[in-house]
Amino acid sequence: MATLVEIKNLSKRYPPRNGKGEGTLAVKHMNLTIDQGEIFSLLGPNGAGKTTTISIMSGLLEPTEGDVIIGGHSVTKNPLAVKKLIGVVPQEVALYPELSARANLEFFGKLQGLRGKELAKRCDEVLEFIGLRERQRERIDTFSGGMKRRVNIGVGLLHKPTLVFMDEPTVGVDPQSRRNILDAVKLLNQQGMTVLYTTHYMEEAQELSHRVGIMDHGELIACGKQIELIQQTNVRDAIVLKFSPEQAQQARQALKDLPLISTIVPEGEHGEKLRLTSDRGRAALPHVVRALDDIGLIPDAIQIVEPKP
């Protein structure tokens, strides 16, 4: 398959808030390619650098270093050409609450260059796709959270983009809406769209993606097809430990030097879960518990997760 996205040595440093120091390095020398027609998931906890990466790719932020090439166009040198190829579904609902669902779609459609009958046709198709045709004339501020999320997705798809960025679209939605969103992503991909999907839920990444990249503290710490990831880490199964976010940090420090642990991936919205992989699988659990006991930590929950290649 042809390469659609090429991320080359991408870094982003935010300026310090108080004007002192070096600021925060949110993305560190990231390299990645995404093929046409692929669903690629970026997995990691809050603060891992996923949203910053997508913001650079969609032209919202300037990179400190490196570049992103999308469809042969450089994000830094030719952002408008890139923006014609992409559709963005931001993490937060980005709609005018005072306008109706259709008025929102029509406005953003016009900015994407759609006019007249073509615009009306695409609005009808998208409203049908997100299941809100009946309520298209109602103001957004009268909608439930799930309905707003669906319109938010619809706006990103209006102009049939080649590549769609979906930044944690299922955060804060009910299970039924979440299921609808995941099904919609699969359907879009079947229709030929390439999807870059960020999440902090391993299950979503496993269900949707052809390939997964794991980010933590601005670094892409692992990347590949799920089977490749398993092979990379030689995992038989994983141990998922749940703590409070503060305890998770302490536990991570304590476990990182444990020889039989291959990777520690933070999960959950606040990194409150740690997914441990080991070539000894669940047999590593007693060693893990002993190491945690040495520093006085007891996990709130322990889960053994078998890999789904």
């Binding site: 913001s55 969609s58 032209g59 919202l60 932020l61 408008l80 050409a81 923006k83 014609k84 992409i86 963005v88 931001p90 937060e92 609902v93 980005a94 709609l95 005018y96 609450p97 005072e98 306008l99 008025a103 406005f107 953003f108 016009k110 900015l111 994407q112 260059g113 103001r139 706006v155």
Partner: protein, 416 residues
């Protein structure tokens, strides 16, 4: 260009979809302007009554006649005061409302009653020996009584006119007597000289012109001619500086980020936002002009009025951009959006005419507030029948303000 207009009209639609916009941009400005217009119409430029009581001697009658001439002079095209001669009621018009004088206990009591009920704004009593005292070169005491609550400025004006009349009368009498004494003592000769001297005063040798009376005109004026454009300008500033809050809201709602992710250049997004706010401000001013027209404001040259409205709105929009460039947070935007109009409006003469303020305040107002220049232009057009050419300097200075605000805004503003 189409995408810029799409952004502009959608922004206007979004703002007009909010009830708060209707209240702050249309309802409140109209209410405040009408209230201030009513207040200023009744307290500052309504014709007042001045009662005069005298002994009916020739120079007293002459005094009344001369004071009537002074009272007939107009300030912003409204007669300042009407003299009501209580000693010769048949000489007065209906405006004096002297019904009941014949039934009164005494003329003095009637005059006091009129003062207490504030039917009259002042009462002048001439001494019974007014003519004799003047002819003999004695000092004449005239009593001016005013009810409480009459503006000090009005009292001073009446005192000024009374003194002018006294000077004319006294001057003529003194000159005639001096010549009579020097020549022959003939009474007929005295009468002729006195008449000629008084006639000389018909044309005042020294004339005081009002500071604002720079352009001639005959249009009737009311307080609304000042309050409607003044308060309109202030609320246009409120609408314009709300641009900073609008950007803060769009950042919070993530719609600005979504706009930036579309294939529309950032400069076009900014232009669309500015045009949208300009249109809202123009609507605010348009409503004020329409309400003013309904109330009866004679706007004067329509081209001139349109030019002032457009140039001031342009300037206000540029100020909105400059405000948005400075405000980093929604709270800062709200604070600046309140403070800037509340400082510029009174300094620029939106609440009261700058003519009544000290000289340094007038200078300060014209340096810091574009409202001062637009109000000057409105005053010329509304009260003095000025043409377009006479307001061109005001328009150029508004354009200069626009350039400064816009330059600063473009330099400092960041869309993200």
């Amino acid at each position: 260009m189409r995408r810029i207009l799409d952004i502009a009209f959608t922004q206007l639609l979004v703002q007009l979809s909010e009830r708060g916009t209707w209240i702050t941009s249309f309802v409140v400005p109209v209410f405040v302007a009408v209230m201030i217009g009513i207040f200023s119409s009744t307290t500052t430029i309504q014709t007042q009554r001045i009662d005069v009581l005298h002994g009916g001697d020739p120079l007293a009658l002459q005094f009344v006649a001369l004071l009537r001439q002074e009272g007939a002079k107009k300030t912003v095209n409204v007669q300042l005061f009407e003299v009501c001669d209580l000693s010769a009621p048949q000489t007065n018009g209906t405006f004096c409302q002297l019904e009941g004088l014949e039934r009164a206990e005494s003329v003095e009591a009637f005059m006091s009653q009129r003062l207490e009920s504030r039917l009259t704004s002042g009462a002048i009593t001439l001494p019974s020996d007014f003519s004799a005292a003047l002819n003999n070169g004695q000092k004449v005491n005239i009593e001016l009584r005013v009810p409480s609550g009459v503006p000090q400025q009005f009292i001073q004006t009446v005192q000024g006119y009374t003194n002018a009349v006294i000077a004319r009368l006294g001057g003529a009498v003194a000159a005639a007597q001096a010549i009579k004494t020097a020549v022959s003592g003939d009474q007929a000769f005295y009468e002729r000289v006195y008449a000629q001297m008084l006639a000389k005063w018909e044309t005042d040798p020294i004339e005081i012109r009002e500071a604002t009376n720079t352009v001639g005109g005959q249009l009737p004026g009311t307080g609304f001619g000042h309050s409607i454009p003044g308060i309109g300008s202030m609320f246009v500033l409120f609408s314009a500086t709300a641009l900073a809050q609008l950007f803060a809201t769009e950042r919070r709602n993530n719609t600005l980020q979504r706009l930036i992710s579309t294939p529309v250049p950032r400069s076009h997004i900014l232009a669309g936002k500015l045009i949208g706010q300009f249109l809202l401000c123009l609507l605010t001013f348009g409503v004020m002009i329409a309400v003013g027209t309904l109330i009866g404001v004679s706007w004067g040259d329509p081209l001139g009025i349109a030019a002032v409205v457009v140039f001031f709105t342009l300037c206000a929009t540029a100020l909105g951009l400059a405000t948005a460039a400075v405000a980093r947070t929604a709270n800062q935007a709200a604070t600046l959006g309140f403070l800037i109009p509340m400082i510029m409006a009174p300094l620029g003469g939106a609440w009261w005419t700058l003519d009544i303020t000290p000289q340094f305040m007038q200078v300060l107002g014209h340096v810091v507030s574009p409202i001062a220049w637009s109000q000057d232009a409105f005053t010329k057009l509304i009260y003095y029948n000025a043409g377009f050419a006479e307001i061109v300097p005001n328009l150029l200075i508004l354009l200069l303000f626009t350039a400064v605000f816009f330059g600063f805004g473009v330099w400092r503003f960041r869309l993200e």
